[in-house]
Amino acid sequence: MTVHAHDEHHGLGHVLPVSTLAKVLGALVALTVLTVITGKMDLYGFDLAVAMIIATTKAVLVALIFMHLKYDRGFHGFIFLGSLLFVGVFLAYTMTDTAQYQGDIRQFNQQSVAEELLNPLDDEADPGAGSPPGNEGH
């Protein structure tokens, strides 16, 4: 039996030292505090970008260390990144599409609201429609 030089122990997988795990937890908590602070500030339009950069940094730490991807077979990381790539494709095409038809969407929304106001409830004859309604739920 040959033993890998860097392995803490024999056998399967890689054993992470407690100190590494603790440092990652510390970094994750610190980044959470940071994102709450930056979330309360006005970052002149970069709020979302900053929040996403911090979240991605946290995700990378979790994936690389807690999920062992740094020490694991490259193929597992490939699967993980592959899924994110396809999420990116999904998101990019959908966002392009919704941006393209923005005018139509606005128009449709306005029309449907206008129609709703003209014929408050076409399916139920409710005399109270339109006025501040009573509590029909409970």
């Binding site: 024999h10 056998g11 399967l12 997988g13 992470l16 407690v18 795990l21 603790a22 937890l25 994750l28 908590v29 959470t32 994102t35 709450v36 979330g39 309360k40 500030m41 006005d42 970052l43 709020d47 929040a51 911090i54 979240a55 946290k58 995700a59 979790v62 994936a63 807690f66 999920m67 694991d72 077979r73 193929f75 597992h76 699967i79 993980f80 592959g82 899924s83 396809f86 999420v87 999904f90 998101l91 959908t94 966002m95 919704t98 923005q102 969407i105 929304n109 306005q110 609201v113 709703e116 106001l117 409830l121 429609a129 501040p132 309604p133 009573g134 509590n135 029909e136 739920g137 409970h138």
Partner: protein, 255 residues
């Protein structure tokens, strides 16, 4: 192992205790199981991506609604839940280490803390959800929702505070504009409940998995050549944590 081997009954034959017959070595078995888990995690990410894309489309179309809706989410509770999940991820990763080293009592302790954190997460989630229910901060199709287009819910007493904030926001608007706004607020809470609800279901499933691991750990089943279940359970738990890492800023921290 050739198929000509006639001794299907003979369990005294020479292979490691935890090696299933259809694998050659423990390493092959471990790698095979792990590959399967990663393939499953891929489907989980794609599963959630539909809701993330729905979120992105709605937020880009109605940024003012998301900004306003986010005010009704309690940042302190959301941040607390984030920390709780991060700690549970740490204890789950530590549990894998304990299993790899055969430290059964520490393994049980770490799994137990993970389970405790998961319960705390769901407890805090319950506090948040019940507040939203009483205040009528629900998706538009719900009869108990402030944003129900046909018969908006009217809360009373202490529960009316959020409703008043909403009324104040739409006070200066034209009728059609305020209708559109209320409709989109219903959509915001629809996305909120779908995303956090699906995530919450994953937390509950994770709790079942961790309980199962804890039971097996109590029987002393895990050790250096048999920790795959703990490893894969922890991977699932980390994914649940990863999703929340994105949900927290996307929902609670819209400035």
């Amino acid at each position: 192992m050739s198929s000509a081997h006639p001794t299907a009954d003979a369990h005294g034959h020479d292979h490691p205790k935890h090696l299933a017959h259809h694998y050659d070595t423990l390493e092959q078995q471990f790698e095979g199981n792990k590959l399967g888990m990663w393939a499953f995690l891929l489907t989980e990410i794609l599963f959630f991506s539909g809701l993330f894309v729905a979120y992105s489309v709605l937020r880009s179309n109605y940024p003012e609604v998301f900004e306003f809706g986010s005010k009704f989410l309690n940042t302190t509770l959301g941040a607390t839940n984030t920390i709780v999940l991060l700690v549970s991820s740490f204890t789950a990763a530590s549990a894998v280490r304990n299993a790899q080293l055969g430290e059964t009592s520490k393994l049980k302790m770490n799994l137990f803390i993970t389970l405790l954190c998961a319960s705390a997460f769901m407890g805090i989630k319950y506090v948040e959800y019940s507040h939203k229910y009483h205040a009528g901060l629900l998706w538009g199709g719900n009869a108990h929702s402030l944003f129900n287009p046909e018969a908006p819910y009217v809360p009373h007493g202490d529960h009316a505070t959020d409703s008043l904030v909403v009324q104040e926001r739409i006070a200066g608007m034209e009728v059609d504009e305020s209708r559109m706004f209320m409709r989109n607020m219903g959509r915001f809470f629809g996305v909120y409940f779908c995303l956090t609800g699906l995530h919450g279901i994953h937390v509950l499933i994770g709790m079942v998995v961790i309980t199962w691991l804890l039971r097996r750990a109590s029987r002393g089943e895990f050790g250096p050549d048999n920790f795959t279940a703990v490893d894969l359970g922890a991977l699932y738990w980390h994914l649940v944590d990863l999703i929340w890492i994105f949900l927290f800023p996307l929902l609670y921290l819209i400035a």
